[in-house]
Symmetry: C2
Subunit: 149 residues, 2 copies
């Protein structure tokens, strides 16, 4: 496997509304997405854009807030009530190849490959096998793709 | 302030040597810097490059390992023995303006402005004021600059 783009870092927050105000008013973010629910993951999501080099798109901040007390994120926020860094997400060109790669290495994959916040297939790898970092692998969005089948 | 480039994310590790092997052999990193000591911060540092969009430089992974038991990082690793996400670092064009901005907002700045791992001035902001995220602010490197005075 070849290391892909760091698409986003996931930042847990008890309140996406408060985080949006923070990134906009304190950190000076100019491009803030519309929050939306991702019920499969039990989270509400909002992307904050950061600038990349030479006018390109940089790594995004993915704000994630629990959708309810059953969310897997609730435990993280119980330990970190202010929120905090939750995961990192790297892009790959082929999600099936990437899954086979990590499976072949005996890495613990958390659940099936599913559709993530950017509408492309993703899976998560357990931090215990990834030097302590919860790691999401995401297929790079391509124009004209149809992931619904 | 305007949100700058996410220069790097800081990832704590008990062993930079093990992390280099992990990023190279498991994650497929192709550009791995030479590790070096940063005694002012009590850490050994190594940068892993990730690709940005359209051939640009992406956000780096800054591996940090305690230089000794007195390192401020030792407490983090005692709580997270495998390592884990430690901080994020955003670029600004003027470090003094940025410091004045955060001071004016009453944010808790950790120590004086000093020279960071990329050779430009940096400071850290306490996670309690930054939605739980330890945040480094770093002046963008410029050619021909002299930070020694």
């Amino acid at each position: 496997m070849k290391l892909g783009r760091l698409n986003h870092i996931g930042v847990a927050t008890p309140s996406i509304a408060d985080s949006i105000a923070y990134y906009r008013d304190i950190m000076g973010a100019t491009t803030v997405g519309e929050p939306f629910d991702l019920p499969e993951q039990g989270v509400k999501v909002c992307f904050i854009d950061t600038p990349g080099q030479s006018g390109t798109e940089g790594t995004q901040i993915e704000l994630i807030e629990p959708l309810g007390p059953e969310s897997t994120l609730s435990g993280f926020l119980a330990r970190n009530p202010l929120g905090g860094q939750h995961h990192v997400c790297y892009e790959v060109t082929d999600i099936n190849e990437a899954r086979a790669w990590f499976e072949g290495l005996g890495k613990h994959i958390l659940g099936p490959t599913r559709i993530g916040a950017h509408g492309t297939p993703i899976f998560f790898l357990h931090p215990k096998d990834m030097m302590g970092v919860l790691t999401e692998i995401m297929e790079t969005p391509r124009e004209g793709s149809d992931w619904s089948n």
